[in-house]
Amino acid sequence: MALTLTCPVCGKRNGYEFRYGGEEKGPRPDEAGITPRSWCEYVHMNQCVAGIQKEWWCHKDGCGVWFTTHRDTTCNLEVDKPEAQS
């Protein structure tokens, strides 16, 4: 596994030091009036992008910080600032 990730506190580290936290799905939906179906979709349904996706990671063996980063799922490599490239 060649994945390295850049922790905002510790810098670039081996991917084995991190725990995957899922896709970035935006803010938690407002609970007022939410239906079981829409809540289920928020919690369980994923985009599963074949390409660059924004996702959550935790530096569990290091500083413990949760952060978001971008990863190209087709080659399992972290991508630097994809918004700036597009």
Binding site: V9, R13, N14, E17, D61
Partner: protein, 210 residues
């Protein structure tokens, strides 16, 4: 009936110390047989350590010392080493050996009995550590003392580099108490070719006072 309290270090070194002292219910190993300039490993598990967590961490001044602004930075003043871990957390290690009482604030937790605390001294310690971790102890952007958080012998550790020059090489590190005996076994095995040997608390105090 009075209850006798005994606090036990999570590690034991091979061989017998030359001098011990009973202090604060701990049996402190003060001296081992000296072996020249060879690197030394020292058990400091009895030294008081606190964990501090607060969303407004800058409001605290443990021991009268300000907490560093940047994660990864450390400050050593008044015998207290403060390591900034992340946005909301810092660790506080009492290196002077003073038995300070913990501040009456729920942001502080005494973790002395939850972790093992070791020191590595000597100019060849980085040849030992490179066998056990990929952490970069010579990052030119960091000035000692600085904190690294990551796996050491596959165990998540907090490691503070007090000095990384040949004249002044020292590392302090902690990990969970349950890993202690395996951790010291790994360190001693990695250091065998460099004649790494146990030393007492006095060796560390001498190093700090220098």
């Amino acid at each position: 009936m009075a209850v006798e309290i005994k606090r036990q270090s999570p590690i034991s070194f091979p061989g017998n110390p030359l001098k011990t002292e009973l202090r604060g219910h701990w049996t402190v190993m003060q001296e081992y047989e000296a072996k020249g300039d060879a690197p030394r490993v020292i058990d400091l598990s009895h030294r008081i350590r606190w964990d501090l967590q607060d969303s407004d961490i800058a409001r605290h001044r443990p021991g009268g010392v300000s907490i560093p602004d940047t994660p990864g930075r450390c400050v050593f003043e008044n015998g207290v080493l403060i390591n900034r871990m992340n946005r909301t957390q810092a660790s506080i290690w009492h290196l002077s050996g003073e038995d300070l009482s913990i501040p009456d604030d729920p942001a502080f937790t005494d973790v002395t009995d939850a972790t093992v605390f070791l020191a590595l001294l000597g100019k060849e310690i980085f040849s030992i550590t490179e066998k056990l971790t990929t952490l970069d102890f010579f990052d030119p952007l960091k000035e000692a003392p600085f904190l690294l958080q990551g796996p050491f012998s596959h165990v998540p550790c907090q490691m503070v580099i007090l000095g990384n020059t040949p004249e002044k090489s020292a590392i302090l590190f902690t990990c969970s108490r349950g890993y202690a005996q395996d951790m010291i076994a790994a360190v001693l095995e990695a250091g065998a070719e460099f004649e790494l040997h146990p030393a007492g608390e006095n060796a560390f105090s001498d190093w700090v006072n220098k």
